[in-house]
């Protein structure tokens, strides 16, 4: 059987960005899949070595433009740990609220994109209708919808206001989620396309460095929010589902949105509890970290994200490395797609929630 070499991407509607998969097909069966990345490589780590910390902060939202808050929080947390800047309780509550809102908007976009991969047209627009409310709120608070540059070392740029809009939104959201669930979750065709497809065994997942919702859908309850200092005092339980296929990866993200809603309601109470926002800002022009290495870690929507800074006492870091979730999910495709058919392959790749800016950094 002569094998057909097929280029999936880089300009392809269902790869959410510029991912190129070189597939070898026999008929429609994939025998080898080799991802080729680097089309969106902006040299984030090289830029860091040339810019001072305050100059690098706005660029950090671009690492994963759907979850910008997470990466500016990572950098701020690293610097605050190095310079031991204390955060006031209100700032912590604001940060948790905006992080979880960003997680909801990222999951909503994924639901729309995943359904569009499978061919259903309308859930995409319904998910974007909800996401628009969140982005409008980000714009009102921070000034930009996605590249918000709102967290600063030692606090947030300016205070949060109009929380009632978010409270109203949190009442509507569960009903809208039930709308999606009634269209999608038990739909016969959706179940045929996703149940039992792309089974990810926990051992393989751990071996491939998969973290976040994909890992929790395979039964391993690893959620860094439990050990995260920012999330102390928030009662939440990470969701772990067992049966490892695309359908559970879809279901776990719906449950995570419900979980985030609970966290946000607690955060809003904390914000209302302590009204005054006392940031302790530092002079931005000469932020110099004492020599040494600093790690910080956070539970981004697509997996554990972490930032490593090695500083040698100069204005810009000696070495800065990012760890992102989708980077290892793309590597997983090499094993997961082998033995699948072409239209199942697209559905499985979609279910892993791969975003290319994260992969290419």
């Amino acid at each position: 059987m002569t094998s057909l070499k097929l280029n999936l991407g880089p300009q392809h509607p269902s790869t959410h960005g510029v991912l190129r998969l070189i597939l070898e097909l026999e008929g429609e069966l994939i025998t080898r899949c080799e991802p080729d990345v680097g089309y969106l490589h902006r040299g984030m780590e090289k830029m860091a070595e040339k810019l001072s910390y305050i100059q690098y902060l706005p660029l950090v939202d671009r690492i994963d433009y759907l979850a910008g808050f997470f990466y500016s929080e990572l950098l701020c947390r690293n610097i605050e740990k190095a310079l031991s800047l204390e955060l006031s309780p209100r700032v912590k509550a604001i940060r948790v609220m905006l992080l979880e809102l960003n997680r909801i908007s990222s999951h909503l976009l994924w639901i729309g994109a995943f359904l569009m991969d499978l061919g259903a047209v309308s859930p995409f627009f319904y998910a974007f209708r909800e996401r628009e409310v969140i982005l409008k709120y980000f714009e009102k608070i921070s000034g930009q919808r996605m590249m918000n540059n709102y967290f600063v070392f030692g606090g947030v740029r300016n205070d949060i206001f109009d929380i009632e809009e978010i409270e109203r939104f949190l009442e509507i959201l569960p009903h809208k989620l039930d709308d999606y669930e009634s269209i999608i979750t038990d739909n016969l065709i959706f179940k045929k396309r996703t149940v039992g497809k792309g089974v990810l065994d926990p051992k393989i997942a751990l071996n491939f460095g998969i973290t976040g919702p994909n890992l929790r859908a395979s039964g391993v309850g690893y959620d860094t929010r439990k050990k995260d200092s920012l999330y102390e005092g928030f009662s939440f339980s990470p969701i772990v589902l067992g049966n490892q296929d695309s359908w559970t990866r879809y279901k776990i993200r719906i449950l995570e949105i419900h979980e985030s809603i609970r966290i946000i309601t607690q955060a809003i109470e904390k914000i209302k509890a302590n009204p005054e926002l006392n940031n302790n800002f530092i002079n931005p022009l000469n932020i110099v970290l004492p020599e040494g290495e600093y790690y910080s870690e956070i539970e981004a929507p697509r997996g554990v994200a972490s930032c490593y800074i090695k500083s040698d006492g100069k204005k810009s870091p000696y070495r800065l490395k990012w760890r992102t979730g989708s980077y290892y999910a793309v590597n997983l495709l090499r094993k997961l797609l082998v033995g699948e058919y072409l239209n199942d392959a697209i559905a499985i790749a979609g279910s892993l929630d791969i975003i290319l800016p994260e992969v290419d950094k």
Partner: protein
């Protein structure tokens, strides 16, 4: 078997329900979406004391101060708002204007005159 039909029918009815809802889209040129007052659009400068903080703080190196000419290079600016946030005298303000498309390139060099307190030193 019956449950499958019920769920299939449910998904049809939910989509049908949306047929009677008002559209949420917005006709752009006629109706513009209003932006918050913290929106970071085209930068505007008035009352600069030439202290140079904005040059040090701008990630894209988009600000240049020749004597009495304050130049924003719109080809480089990423609208991050660092300059307006860290300017000691709050001279730089980000307006709400986001329609910056032009077809002539020297519109992209915003030039503002520095008058008033120009005797302070540019450290």
């Amino acid at each position: 078997m019956l449950k499958e039909f019920y769920y299939m029918l449910l998904s049809f009815l939910t989509v049908f329900k949306h047929l009677f809802k008002r559209p949420v889209t917005l006709e752009y040129p006629e109706k513009k979406s209003e932006v918050g007052e913290r929106f970071r659009g085209k930068p505007y400068m008035k009352g600069c004391i030439k202290c140079g903080t904005c040059i040090k703080v701008c990630p894209a190196n988009a600000i240049k101060i020749e004597d009495n000419d304050f130049i924003f290079d719109m080809k480089k600016c990423i609208f991050c708002g660092n300059c307006s946030f860290y300017c000691p005298v709050k001279a730089i303000k980000m307006t709400q204007n986001y329609e910056l498309a032009t077809n002539d390139v020297n519109d992209l060099k915003l030039l503002y005159k520095i008058e008033g307190r120009e005797n302070e030193r540019l450290d």
